[in-house]
Symmetry: C2
Subunit: 222 residues, 2 copies
DNA sequence: GCATATTTGTCCGTATGTATA
DNA sequence: CTATACATACGGACAAATATG
């Protein structure tokens, strides 16, 4: 008995559709730059164009879709410049997180659990889940700030980054080598030595960004 | 021929309405927590309910309006907790900005010009303009990062803060004492000594936040 | 607690302008 | 250049939820 409409629960239909569309976008269901026809997508999700347009507005403000006047919406295609900018934001926000970290914060427990899970999934070579765990680890790190606004800003760039991953063929196993880096990062933060933690963070981000940029180049030159 | 509709230019009508509404919200036209009726506001702006709802979605995602299921939208009322969070975000982002600042960046010229303008308006006791200049100064500071995403994240919390200002009776002259602080901050950043600059930034933010919180308390206890 | 009026949530039909084949 | 397709925006309609007396 799969509910066809409003499976989201008590959210508005527009938000539910936006959530479903976001998942589809991140999963790489659509090709980058693809045009999303209002009529077609509305029919596909069984909602009216008005409702769909509300959902489109939502996703556009999150940079997952791009609006072109009188032409409609298109799947965003993060390019090299976008990736640079995303990692610039990550650097600023996550540096703030490691410096603001307080001993005994509940987020540490979650980060430890995620490191363990990441190792497990890594052992079974389930790279998709490893990627998800990796994202969650860094979200937990930002939650050290106890700042809803900082967390949602971080979620924004992370969603955009996941969109980029979804558009890369082998996006999932890009996360593979970073499981142990996260572990080092976690111990550095918990040690309380801010300098070490920032250095470890910079190393992670630099390596991660290089991996993404390289994959992006491989895709473009093909 | 003066275009009667879409005076905003080439943006969509929903975005134009959202911009107008944002200005009205920031100017304190509505009372905090006030309910915005779809019918009423749509009639007031001469747009259909569907178009207005798109604009509402936009402003809701910017935290200027609050959505309540089946009850409609209300003017957001930033409370003490929100102000704390906003300044936490400012601290993280602006620390990033002063540390990322590179010598000779064009933003410095703009910041100098804004300091001068601020002094002028301060001399003529035009506190409203002083407030605007102050905001622009800090936006220019963040633009030192050359990061569109960081700038738009900053714009978001700044808009929310301006909404809070608009809801305070004497919001405008809250900015008065900070003209000279901005000047000190600017010279500290340009000196290249990151430690000094961060210290100066912290001093500014602490003082500014205290001013806002105090005004907020005065308003609540009245 | 109930009946009624209001408002939101959603959809449809349609007219107009814009871009593209 | 014309024609087609589509986005834009409007107004009306109705069910469901909420507020009001």
């Amino acid at each position: 008995m799969s509910g066809e409409k409003n499976e989201g629960g008590d959210r508005s239909l527009a938000e539910a559709v936006a959530d479903q569309l976001r998942e589809a976008l991140i999963a790489g269901t659509f090709s980058p730059g693809q045009k999303l026809s209002e009529q077609q997508v509305a029919a596909e999700y069984g909602v009216s164009r008005n409702t769909l347009r509300e959902a489109f507005r939502f996703l556009t403000s999150q940079r997952l879709l791009t609006y072109v006047q009188n032409r409609g919406v298109f799947v965003a295609t993060p390019d090299a410049e976008a990736v640079i900018d995303i990692y610039r934001v990550r650097s600023v926000i996550q540096r703030g997180a490691v410096q603001m970290a307080t001993r005994g914060h509940p987020a540490f427990a979650r980060m430890h659990a995620l490191v363990l899970q990441g190792r497990e999934y890594g052992a079974s070579e389930d790279w998709r889940r490893v990627g998800t765990i990796n994202m969650e680890f860094h979200r937990a790190m930002v939650s050290l700030c106890d700042s809803p606004r900082l967390s949602s800003a971080f979620d924004l760039v992370l969603a955009e980054l996941r969109l980029a991953f979804g558009q890369l063929d082998e996006g999932a196993h890009l996360h593979a080598p970073y499981v142990s880096l996260n572990e080092n990062l976690l111990t550095a933060i918990e040690s309380g030595n801010a300098m070490d933690a920032v250095a470890e963070l910079d190393a992670y981000l630099l390596k991660s960004e290089r991996g993404v940029q390289a994959a992006l180049q491989r895709k473009l030159s093909r």
